[in-house]
Amino acid sequence: MGTMTVVRLDADTLTPRQLNEKLRELLASGAEAVVENPRSRHNLGVALPGPGHVTFKGSVGYYCGGLSNGGSIAIAGNAGWGIGESMANGFIRVRGSVGQSIGASLRGGTIVVEGDAGPRAGVAQKGGVVVVGGNIGFLSGFMAQRGKLIALGDASDGVGDSLYEGNIFVAGRIHGLGIDAVIAPPMPEEIDEIESIIAEVGFPLKPREWKKVVAGRKLWYFDKREGQTWLKV
């Protein structure tokens, strides 16, 4: 690839729109960008193309990496709500923790969080992979239709509520299942796949007791004999 120039941008001196326009240009050409002073602002690095790379030298606010279709993003601090929302393709790595709804409606690509994720991680996920090194919050995986949500830590209450065909893998403790969520034993080949994903994104491999949360499928069809289940909704 030859020598790659790193372009430095200062978020203190640019509006989010100006910053995003520059980032789109840079990433489309395969360049590497570094954004200083993100200061937890919203909507940074939205709708990025591949194949370039951007590093945010601090925390970002809501929707970072949302709607992207390629490229990779590294966030040196924390991130707010909706990180990688509706992303079609690409890679996001968050060094710290994230707020609510990481990977909401995610369609493809991979999001990695080294810390914890807030409530509703992977809500309505439609594809792709979300890996959380720590714990996942209340109602994680809510209504997920496809894709994988992987937590190396614990899952808070309500995990997998109203699931479709999304799969949630939890290595730690599950504090409570959501409505119509059940724990199924993961197949050996599924464990192999999960472990190869987490090794690839750099988490150490060690013996883990994987639990897989899937839909109990009782909410998929209305059955009046299951009325009690519906009343809980």
Binding site: S40, R41, H42, G61, N78, S97, G118, P119, G137, F138
Partner: protein, 314 residues
């Protein structure tokens, strides 16, 4: 939406400037009104009152009637009334210092009953706060506009709250702006982000206990609910925990008393809250970018789970 925030200092210092910066950073969450609950030094020998008089042209006459009603409620002015310097405004924001002998509810009710101003078709007097330490300043507009008119930036104290409002449930006017004072409990204030769905029932129950409300805003209810529980012997924490199950809806609120700031979050974890603490400064806000206004450097922040209750004591 709405944005809320709070600052607590280990040693008294500037809270006004910090809160203004935080509320400016949250202005995209609402600019219908902005307000501040500021806790200055405790003054045992007086209560500070913050009022709004709707008709500035009749201010002098209204102040005379306010003072007469104050006497009837067992209080005296400690110093002459002062008010904001926006001479062209239609309304006036008045600050009184009164003797603590006053019957707070009686004075409040009497002032509000001074009657509607014919020209503006609104009550001529709103009572925003009573406190040995607390002063509530709120007005329509964004943080910069409110700070400018009401001289917020220079305020020093131990802690305070801020709010910027996007109205969802009640009127867009000063009276329905936050923070709210827990009438008639001096020094109790609240800022709230959310909606309380069992508001009318909870309000009726409190009204049966004799409480009067100054607005139709659900946030005012929470402050009275908490203060009432504490009056009946619950600790601050117990009262906050009670609210998490007693209130339906989605909410995250910050409730302040002279001893510190409390947080309670609903059981669905819908409304956000982030906090950070460094070098004797504790900051909490709806969004992390508000915290970054006060604590510019990257530091560890904390977020909160469903049904969680936290108290930051002074």
């Amino acid at each position: 939406m709405c944005g809320i925030g709070g600052v607590k200092l280990s040693e008294p210092g500037n809270i006004g400037e910090r809160l203004v910066q935080m509320m400016s950073a949250l202005r995209h969450r609402g600019t219908d009104s902005t307000g501040f609950a500021l806790y200055g030094p405790w003054q045992e020998d007086r209560l500070i009152v913050r009022l709004r008089v709707a008709d500035r042209e009749r201010l002098a006459e209204t102040l005379n009637r306010i003072e007469a009603a104050l006497r009837q409620a067992g209080g005296e002015l400690v110093s002459p009334p002062t008010w904001d310097k926006a001479d062209r405004a239609r309304d006036a924001f008045v600050r009184l210092e009164v003797t603590p002998t006053v019957d707070v509810e009686r004075a409040t009710a009497a002032w509000i009953a001074l009657g509607p101003s014919a020209s503006l078709r609104v009550n001529s007097v709103e009572v925003h706060s009573f406190g040995h330490s607390l002063e509530i300043v709120k007005d329509v507009g964004d943080a910069l506009a409110v700070a400018e008119r009401h001289d917020i930036r220079g305020f020093t104290g131990s802690h305070g709250l801020g709010h910027c409002r996007l109205a969802t449930e009640s009127e867009v006017d000063v009276a329905h702006g936050h923070p709210f004072w827990a009438r008639p409990f001096p020094d109790v204030s609240i800022v709230h982000n959310g909606q309380i769905t069992n508001y009318f029932k909870s309000r009726r129950l409190l009204e049966q206990e004799g409480y009067q409300f100054s607005s139709d805003n659900d946030s005012e209810l929470i402050s009275v609910l908490i203060a009432d529980r504490m009056k009946h012997g619950q600790t601050f924490e117990e009262a906050l925990r009670y609210s998490v199950t007693a209130l339906d809806g989605v909410f995250t609120y910050l409730l302040s008393i002279p001893e510190g700031i409390g947080l309670a979050k609903d059981r669905l974890a819908i409304k956000p809250m982030i906090s950070a603490e460094t070098g004797g400064v504790t900051v909490m806000a709806t969004e992390e970018q508000a915290i970054r206004q006060v604590l510019r450097d990257e530091i560890t922040t904390k977020s909160y789970a469903q049904g969680e209750v936290v108290i930051w004591e002074r």
